[in-house]
Amino acid sequence: MADNAKHISAGDFKPISAEDRGNLDSEKISAPSLTFLQDSWRRFRKNKAAMIALIILIILFILAFGSNLFETHAPNATNPNLANLPPKIPGIDINGFNGTLDQSGQRINAYAQAHAGSKYFILGTDYLGRDLFSRILYGTRISLTIALVASFFDLAVGVVYGVISGWIGGWVDTFMQRIIEILLSIPNLVVIILLMVILKPGMESIIIAIALTSWINMARLIRAQTLELKNQEFVLAARTLGESSIKIGFKHLLPNLSSIIIINLMFTIPTAIFFEAFLSYIGIGVSAPQASLGTLINDGQKNFQFLPYQMWYPAIVLSLLMIAFNILGDGMRDAFDPKSRE
């Protein structure tokens, strides 16, 4: 270093002009500044698995909520003559999709036997001749509805509860935390099942039961974070300036809580979907003839040995939903959580 310094002569320096000085603004930020969402989205896009999960979910959403456009038959229309038909897609001649069945070692054309004519069911029919594809779409719609409702309550109850508990503090906080501690020592599913026993089975009851239990985790995390934020300078500054508590909550706390909210939301959703499928599977959820992925799996498993497709397709769709939401959740956590940045 010292040697190099010797070789610099006075001629190497030249005075800077006023124009140059204007261009040499060290404070200037060359890249456009990114908002929190833009920044997270940029990181999220790099995660291929999460992007694929997002695309799969968008497709499932469109299929499920636009199911009136896509479904090939009415989901609850029974047709005993066309019961237990295997999947058939016209033009495709692969076993499993050509309407043939393996019966005691022989391939038989189930559609010809049932005199189905030109009718076809792309995922086959169940034991009452109902179109499995339309029923799976309907079941997916129920699962996704539950997911949306659960996340709504997570936000509406969990976030508000957590913020209030953390913000007010004192005995209110102690009391609210005791309630949460008690709720946490009862397995969620037991609470949900108890409620399902009391309420009459159906969508509304499932929604109420899941709503009553889904917010607890969110409330805990939000409270912990609120406690931390409460003592920071920007909150103190807002208070000093005379901002009301409610305004501080919305303008200062919520934006700082948003990453925790989003991440936790992404893990509430698969749990809610699982609970709904679970309740319907054991027979106290969505009531017949309405289709849910849980009831479809339960129906399908009875015939699994002979007509495996009746369980495989709903099981695959349910697993796909869960996998996609879990991967999406992981991706969101990596994208939104400032601590997990590498």
Binding site: S185, I198, I282, I323
Partner: protein, 306 residues
């Protein structure tokens, strides 16, 4: 420590009291009695039966009687199985549930630790990706789907294990596998995160700088320090196993409390439902208490000092 323990036990008792009270009154608001379908009984007979079940007393007296019973481990009489005390019903079904639940917990946590640790050591390689895929699948695939598939392929097709029923170690293998998937996945995810954290910490750098071998670093420093926080997820894992056991026991026809709970729900056997709710709650409370105590013992950094 003693003070902390006393406080915790007080809260457990308070929790169980609230749960007992809540379930009692919820069940009392239910329409219907054990006699709903027996319209042919004369009013005298109905009164007689009401008296037998203690239903003729005012509500608060019934509540006190029930509460007193619960304290003594008496949960009343089952509606479904006539004259069977609920406590006997639960007691006789506890064994199988604890067996497969315990097995699933041990298998799931151990396998999860291995998968998670390997994933962290080989971070960002195909080994890590495989470990991540295993844990995503384990978390995502519902236990009832997995149970049916295991039952069909390993039980019916390959005939390696009995399809259902209860009778010895071989009968526990399939239900244990079905139940262990979710704790395995959760543990693996948690372990991987912990270990990646630990592996990038200063004391690992120091050990490396001192020329310690890779195996030594992982075994002596990384593994031990990552293992400790895993204790904290045992509680949530226990909840998962309790939840899973309700369907898995049903699918494999295991005479356990999970199967009984579902059966009671489907037949509106209120006393059994109430009893099992309290039992589930008590089990979870005990698991949470034990894990907190164990955590305090094995990690001196967070000794409880209240």
């Amino acid at each position: 420590m003693a003070k902390y323990l006393a406080k915790r036990i007080f809260y457990i008792i308070l929790t169980l009291f609230i749960v007992t009270t809540a379930t009692f009154f919820l069940m009392k608001f239910m329409p219907g009695t054990p006699l709903t379908n027996q319209a042919k009984l004369t009013p005298g007979q109905i009164h007689q039966i009401y008296k037998q079940y203690g239903l003729d007393k005012p509500l608060w007296q019934q509540y006190l009687v029930y509460l007193g019973g619960v304290v003594h481990g008496n949960f009343g009489t089952s509606f479904q199985f006539s004259n069977q005390p609920v406590s006997y019903l639960i007691g006789s079904r506890m064994g199988p549930s604890l067996t497969i639940g315990g097995e699933a917990m041990v298998v799931g946590v151990l396998a999860g630790l291995v998968v998670g640790a390997i994933g962290a050591i080989k971070a960002n390689t195909w080994v890590d990706t495989t470990a991540t895929i295993i844990s995503i699948l384990g978390v995502s695939i519902p236990s009832f789907v997995l149970a049916v598939l295991l039952q069909y392929y390993l039980g019916l097709k390959l005939r390696w294990f009995p399809i259902a029923d209860w009778g010895g170690f071989m009968y526990t293998v399939l239900p244990t596998l079905a139940l262990a998937a979710s704790p395995l996945a959760e543990t693996a995810r948690f372990m991987r995160t912990q270990m990646v954290d630990v592996l990038s910490s200063d004391y690992i750098e120091l050990a490396k700088a001192k020329g310690m071998g890779k195996v030594g670093i992982i075994y002596h420093h990384a593994l031990r320090n990552s293992l400790i926080p895993v204790v904290t997820i045992v509680g949530p894992l226990a909840v998962g196993i309790m939840t899973g056991s309700m369907v898995v026991e049903n699918i494999f026809s295991i005479p356990g409390i999970g199967e009984q709970f579902v059966k009671s729900v489907l037949t509106n056997d209120y006393p059994t439902i109430m009893g099992l709710t309290i039992v589930y709650c008590a089990m979870l409370c005990v698991v949470l208490l034990i894990t907190d105590i164990v955590y305090g013992i094995i990690d001196p950094r967070i000794r409880i000092n209240k």
